[in-house]
């Protein structure tokens, strides 16, 4: 078999090209840090990579959502605390009206205090975060509580919520946000439940009386405060059929109101604890997913760099040999 210069050079050329092309692939891997740069680099990992990326986006969203939810829950909790404080203050005022001897002027002054507490309660009930009412259900842009223009102590009917001193204009829908796949938490408390003592299922709207009223163990905080003021004003200590139903009765109702708020507060607290747990869990899921994604698409830099230096040596050797070939020729001997 004869060996021609043509064949020799074409073999060298092919080898040099091959090494250069492999070197280029490795250099791309090294500079991007990714082993998956084109679909053809490894078609089998495309599905897992895209899936992992999707889950990372989702998990990131859940973590962000939970952060915002926690903030909202903390604000709500602060407001719930001040509601309980207000109710405590009202109790103290009522207690002062019962204890000791009070003149009519003293009683009026105490009743005024309670009325002011009711005003503050209204403000708290209508509090907003980011221009959205906290206690209006899903009607976040509607002021939830307004004074009932038709209220009169004479026509007040505990069974008919439209005769109560304050009207609720929100709705009975709790906002649920997703904090994990198929796992939602309630982020708000509805005004009807918190302030009026009307379960969400019994709420029928502002202008329709709520069903099954009054509910046992629940009170309308605004009615209680109005009645307390009326009872103190009249100095009615324990006449159940007198004005305000009697101060002692009102004190009991104020305690029920505080319990009502406390119950919902601990419910919210539990939700907040769930959110904190899930946040931690999601953060570790996020880390795992990043690792998984990395395993699929990241280049192993140690391997890449050692491969590059190997190939560079091979390239150097191939170039050396190519230059040696041209030195050996029959022409040197003629």
């Amino acid at each position: 078999m004869q060996v021609t210069a043509n064949a020799t050079y074409s073999i060298m050329q092919n080898n040099l090209n091959q090494i250069e092309s492999n070197l280029q692939t490795l250099q791309i891997e090294g500079s991007t840090g990714l082993s998956l740069n084109q679909p053809s680099d490894d078609p089998s990992v495309i599905s897992p990579v895209i899936n992992a990326r999707q889950q990372i986006t989702e998990t990131g969203r859940y973590i962000t959502t939970m952060g915002a939810t926690t903030n909202q829950m903390q604000s709500t909790d602060t407001y719930l605390g001040s509601i309980i404080t207000l109710l405590g203050k009202a109790q103290t005022e009522a207690q002062s009206a019962v204890n000791g001897t009070n003149s009519t002027a003293d009683l009026s002054s105490l009743a005024d205090q309670v009325n002011q507490i009711q005003q503050q309660m209204m403000q708290t009930a209508n509090s907003e975060i980011n221009d959205q009412y906290l206690f209006s259900g899903e009607k976040v842009t509607t002021e939830p509580f307004t004074t009932n223009p038709n209220y009169s102590a004479a026509t007040y009917n505990a069974a008919d919520s439209t005769t109560w001193p304050v009207l609720y204009n929100g709705d009975a829908n709790q906002t649920q946000v997703e904090i994990a796949p198929s796992e939602s938490v309630q982020t708000n408390l509805t005004g009807n439940e918190l302030f009026l003592g009307i379960s969400n299922s019994n709420w029928n709207g502002t202008t329709t009386a709520a069903s099954n009223q009054p509910e046992s163990g629940k009170v309308d905080i605004f009615t209680v405060l109005s009645q307390t003021a009326a009872a103190i004003q009249a100095g009615n200590v324990n006449n159940a059929s007198g004005p305000g139903g009697g101060i002692e009765n009102c004190i009991a109702n104020l305690q029920t109101a505080a319990n009502q708020v406390d119950g919902l507060r601990s419910q919210l607290g539990n939700q907040a604890a769930t959110v904190t747990n899930v946040t931690t869990q999601m953060q570790s899921v996020q880390t795992d997913l990043q690792t998984t994604l990395g395993n699929y698409q990241d280049a192993n830099s140690t391997t890449v760099f050692s491969d590059i230096s190997n190939l560079q040596s091979a390239y150097q050797a191939a170039l050396d040999i190519t230059s040696q070939i041209s030195k050996v020729s029959i022409l040197n001997y003629m």
Binding site: N6, I50, Q54, R61, T65, Q132, E138, K139, T141, S184
Partner: protein
């Protein structure tokens, strides 16, 4: 006397032959880098001997023929291997372009889909926020645009392939007609008992090039003329007659026809091999499949989102409003995908109002449902939008990586065969140099012989005159 004269003649033939051989060696060296050139060898034979009494005395040497070093078997194998190389090589460019369309970077249709459904999830945390509502529309527009771009790029790649095919045709026709012309030339030379080596080399070279581009097979007929056929059996060259290929534009696609002496025949993809078949396969199979899947994906996203968006209610209590323009079918769904919803208030984050109720601004139920569409197995019940995209991309990736293997494999095969051919037909410098020395010395010897005979004749004539 006749002895010395005959010796002069015999010596003179040697000088002629040596010069011719040196000429051939010179030609070989000159062509050592010419593609397709076969090393030529001088075939020598001695002149018929004359009877001198009871002896036969030779009359010198003559060049019987100048032959090229050639192995038909290797040449045929090289032709066959070229078909595979042409097929694989032609697909590399369009497949690489396809990989760009269905990429796996952080910015592709799947990530845009993720971002779109993520915007809905984000909206669910604050459904009355107009900024978040606008963000949903913007992400929808991004998604639609990425579909439009992908569909447009597929069209561009198809167009590029059509251009490639069209621009190849004149060269192919020229090669085909050259083979027919060379057939004529080789036949005429052969009729005089000579071989037209340069023409034979050139014809082999053209046949190999046609194998690579069209996948043709060739054989020699009784007259030594090369017949060229398409893989489907249709003749391109018969004797000295050449057919021509012509293109017809068919909508946006180019198809090919064979014109044989005025009779026009339509050619299908299966009539070809080599690079033309490689290009046609990508154009008529890979790209339509990818486009089809892309359209299905766009159609499914559009319809599923529209259905759920229409089922919910906007801030302005609107219901039944489409988000994307509603595609009638999956045909062209990717190219035509746009967001028709422009008013952020109409983004249906909440449940549809029933009776006299209105949509509460804080109602996020529908946003959550739409946000979760991205996770649902909505395509054939087996694929999410993302996994469907991943499948399309993996198919392209697989085709490209197979192509890359095929290119390397067929390139290796062709290189090996070329080396084998080179070891048979190529010009070896050292052989030529050694031959050159050999014939140079033969020339010196013949010259010395002639001068010796001349001296002998001089001696003889001096003896006669004295």
């Amino acid at each position: 006397m006749s002895g010395l004269t005959a010796a002069i003649n015999a010596g003179a033939t040697s000088l002629d032959v040596d010069q011719t051989t040196i000429e051939v060696i010179g030609n070989n060296i000159s062509n050592m880098n010419t593609t397709g050139y076969s090393q030529q060898n001088v075939q020598l034979s001695s002149y018929p001997s004359l009877t001198m009494g009871s002896f036969f005395i030779g009359q010198g040497v003559q060049v019987q023929d100048i032959q090229r070093a050639h192995d038909g078997f290797v040449t045929n194998q090289l032709q066959n291997a070229s078909v595979g190389l042409g097929y694989a090589n032609a697909q590399t460019d369009p497949l690489t372009q396809l990989e760009g369309v269905f990429n796996v970077t952080d910015n592709n249709i799947a990530t845009n889909t993720d971002n779109f459904f993520d915007a809905w999830q984000q909206l669910s945390t604050d459904p009355s926020d107009l900024t978040l509502r606008s963000a949903v529309i913007q992400q929808g527009q991004n998604l639609a645009r990425s579909f439009n771009t992908a569909a447009g790029s597929l069209d561009t790649i198809t167009g590029n392939i059509n251009n490639d095919i069209t621009s190849d045709i004149p060269q192919l026709n020229s090669d085909i007609s050259q083979i027919a012309a060379l057939n004529q030339q080789i036949y005429s030379t052969g009729a005089n008992g000579q071989s037209d080596n340069a023409a034979l080399d050139q014809r082999d070279q053209l046949a190999q090039s046609l194998s690579q581009s069209l996948g043709v097979s060739t054989y020699l007929d009784n007259n030594g003329m090369m017949a060229v056929q398409l893989p489907g059996g249709l003749p391109l060259v018969q004797g000295t007659t050449a057919m021509t290929l012509q293109e017809v534009t068919n909508g946006s696609n180019v198809s090919l026809q064979l014109n044989s002496a005025g009779v026009v025949r339509n050619l299908s993809d299966s009539d070809f091999g080599g690079s033309i078949q490689g290009l046609l396969d990508v154009r008529d199979q890979t790209i339509p499949t990818a486009l089809n899947n892309l359209n299905t994906l766009a159609y499914q996203i559009s319809t599923q989102v529209n259905t759920q968006q229409a089922a919910g209610g906007g801030l302005d209590n609107s219901t039944g409003v489409d988000f994307f323009n509603a595609p009638a079918s999956s045909a062209n769904a990717a190219a035509n995908m746009t967001v028709t919803l422009t008013d952020p208030n109409k983004v249906a984050a909440g449940a549809a109002p029933t009776g006299t109720t209105t949509v509460a601004p804080g109602d996020n139920t529908n946003a959550l449902t739409i946000g979760n569409l991205g996770n649902s197995y909505l395509i054939n019940g087996t694929d999410t939008f993302d996994s469907y995209y991943a499948n399309i991309t993996a198919t392209i990736g697989l085709a490209t990586s197979q192509n890359s293997l095929a290119v390397t494999g067929s390139q290796d095969a062709v290189t090996q065969l070329k080396n084998m051919q080179s070891s048979i037909s190529g010009v070896s410098l050292q052989d030529q140099m050694v031959d050159m020395i050999q014939y140079q010395q033969a020339f010196q010897a013949s010259a010395k012989f002639l001068s010796t005979v001349d001296e002998m004749m001089n001696t003889l004539s001096t003896a006669i005159t004295t």
